[in-house]
C-alpha cells in the first residue's frame, strides 16, 4: 500500500478513460490505493469529452487506442477547449512508437506510461505531474 504525502488533493475528481473495463478497474484500484476516492469512468474519448465538459473534473487518465475517439484526439480536444485546456492528462497506453510519444508530447500530454506498467510507476508519474503543476 502507498502512503502518499504532499499537498496532493485526494478529493480531486478523476476521469479514467479506457475501452477495457478490466484496465479501468485496475487503474481505479491503484488510484484508490493512492487515496483518490472521486473517480469516474468512460470507455472512449467521445464518451469522455461531454463528461469533462459537463463536470468539474481535475485530472484525466486515458488510454490511446480506443474505438470511437482515440486518446490522442481526446487530448487534442481537451487542449483545444478553453474551459478544459488546463486539465492535466496522463496517457497509459500500449502504444510505444517514438513517433507517438513525440506526438503526445507535442499535443501537451502531462505524463506517458507504457503498458504493462507497475503501481510504483503510476505513483511516480502522478507525483511528478502534480509537483510540476504546483
Amino acid at each position: 500500500m502507498f502512503s502518499s504525502e504532499g499537498a496532493l488533493d485526494k478529493n480531486m475528481k478523476v476521469l479514467v478513460v479506457d475501452d477495457f473495463s478490466t484496465m479501468r478497474r485496475i487503474v481505479k484500484n491503484l488510484l484508490r490505493d493512492l487515496g483518490f476516492t472521486n473517480i469516474s469512468e468512460a470507455d472512449d474519448g467521445s464518451t469522455a469529452l461531454p463528461m469533462l465538459q459537463g463536470g468539474d473534473f481535475d485530472f484525466v487518465v486515458t488510454d490511446w487506442n480506443m474505438p470511437g475517439m482515440q486518446g490522442i484526439d481526446l487530448l487534442k480536444a481537451i487542449r483545444a477547449d478553453e474551459s478544459l485546456a488546463h486539465l492535466p492528462v496522463l496517457l497509459i497506453t500500449a502504444e510505444a512508437k517514438k513517433e507517438q510519444i513525440v506526438m503526445a508530447a507535442q499535443a501537451g500530454v502531462n505524463g506517458y506510461i507504457v503498458k504493462p506498467f507497475t503501481a510504483a510507476t503510476l505513483k511516480t508519474k502522478l507525483d511528478k505531474i502534480f509537483e510540476r503543476l504546483g
Binding site: R25, A94, K97, K98, I113
Partner: protein
C-alpha cells in the same frame, strides 16, 4: 508448320479448294481459305485450346478441393468464435481475480487497524509501564485481534484460492490459440499453393517475404499499433518506461 511461309498458296490447296466448292462443301472451303490466309493461326489456336483446357482443369480442381471451401465457410468463422472465447475468458479471469483482491484489501485493512489499537498499550506492557486499566483494555484489544485474525485469515485463504483458480484461463486460452495458429498456418499454405498454381514461383514468393520481414508493420491512419512483440528488433519504439522517460526528457519534459 505444314505450309511454307514463302508460298501463299500451293497447287494442291487450290485444287482441293475447287473440289470443295464443286461438291458444295462450303464449310470445308471456308476453313481451307482461312488456313491459306493465315497458316500460323492453326498452331496458335491449338496452343490456346490446350491452355484453355489446362485452365479449365485447374479451376475444376480448385472447386474439387473442398478443404478450401471448408476453410472459408467453417474453419475461419470457427476461429473467430474461438478468439472471442479467449477475450471473454481472459476478461472473466481478470474480473474474478480483481473481485477476490478487492475483498482481500478490506480484510487486511481491518487487521491492520486492530493492530494499531493494540500497539500503544502493548509497548507500555513491554516496558513495564502499564497500569491495570490499560492492561484490561489491552486484553480486550488482543482478544478482538486474535478472533479477527483467525476469521480473516481463513477468509483470505479462500480468496487466494479463488485467485489461484482464476489462472486456469491460461491453459484453456492457450489451447484455443494454438488451434487458431494451426489454422492460420493451413490458410497460409493454401494461399501459397494457389499462387503457385497461377504461376507465381517460390522465388518470387520468398523475395516478397524477405521484403515484408524487413519492412516494419504498417501503422493505421490513426497511428495505433497496439502492444509491440519484437521490441528488441526495432529501433522506432521505446523498449520500456525508462526509454519513454528518456525520450520525453530529451524533449524538455
Amino acid at each position: 508448320m505444314t505450309v511454307a511461309l514463302t508460298k501463299s498458296i500451293t497447287l494442291e490447296q487450290a485444287k482441293l479448294f475447287v473440289e470443295y466448292l464443286e461438291n458444295d462443301q462450303q464449310d470445308k472451303a471456308d476453313a481451307l481459305m482461312a488456313e491459306i490466309q493465315n497458316p500460323i493461326n492453326s498452331d496458335l489456336f491449338a496452343e490456346i485450346g490446350k491452355l484453355t483446357r489446362q485452365l479449365h482443369d485447374s479451376l475444376m480442381n480448385f472447386q474439387l478441393d473442398s478443404r478450401l471451401n471448408d476453410l472459408a465457410t467453417a474453419d475461419i468463422p470457427d476461429a473467430k468464435e474461438r478468439l472471442n472465447y479467449v477475450i471473454s475468458r481472459t476478461e472473466e479471469a481478470a474480473n474474478k481475480t480483481m473481485d477476490a483482491v478487492e475483498s482481500i484489501f478490506p480484510a487486511v485493512d481491518s487487521i491492520q487497524e486492530q493492530l494499531q489499537l493494540v500497539e500503544p498499550d502493548w509497548q507500555k506492557l513491554m516496558s513495564n509501564k502499564i497500569d491495570l486499566n490499560e492492561f484490561k483494555g489491552l486484553c480486550h484489544h488482543i482478544d478482538k485481534l486474535l478472533k479477527m485474525t483467525g476469521k480473516e485469515s481463513i477468509n483470505i485463504h479462500s480468496l487466494m484460492t479463488e485467485v489461484l483458480m482464476a489462472q486456469d484461463f491460461q491453459d484453456l486460452t492457450g489451447q484455443v490459440i494454438r488451434k487458431v495458429i494451426d489454422l492460420v498456418r493451413e490458410v497460409e499454405e493454401s494461399l501459397i499453393s494457389m499462387l503457385t498454381a497461377f504461376g507465381i514461383t517460390e522465388d518470387m514468393l520468398s523475395s516478397a517475404q524477405d521484403k515484408t520481414t524487413k519492412s516494419k508493420p504498417k501503422v493505421g491512419e490513426n497511428l495505433v499499433e497496439g502492444p509491440i512483440m519484437n521490441k528488441e528488433e526495432r529501433d522506432d519504439v521505446a523498449v520500456d518506461q525508462d526509454d519513454v522517460d528518456d525520450l520525453l526528457s530529451s524533449l524538455g519534459f
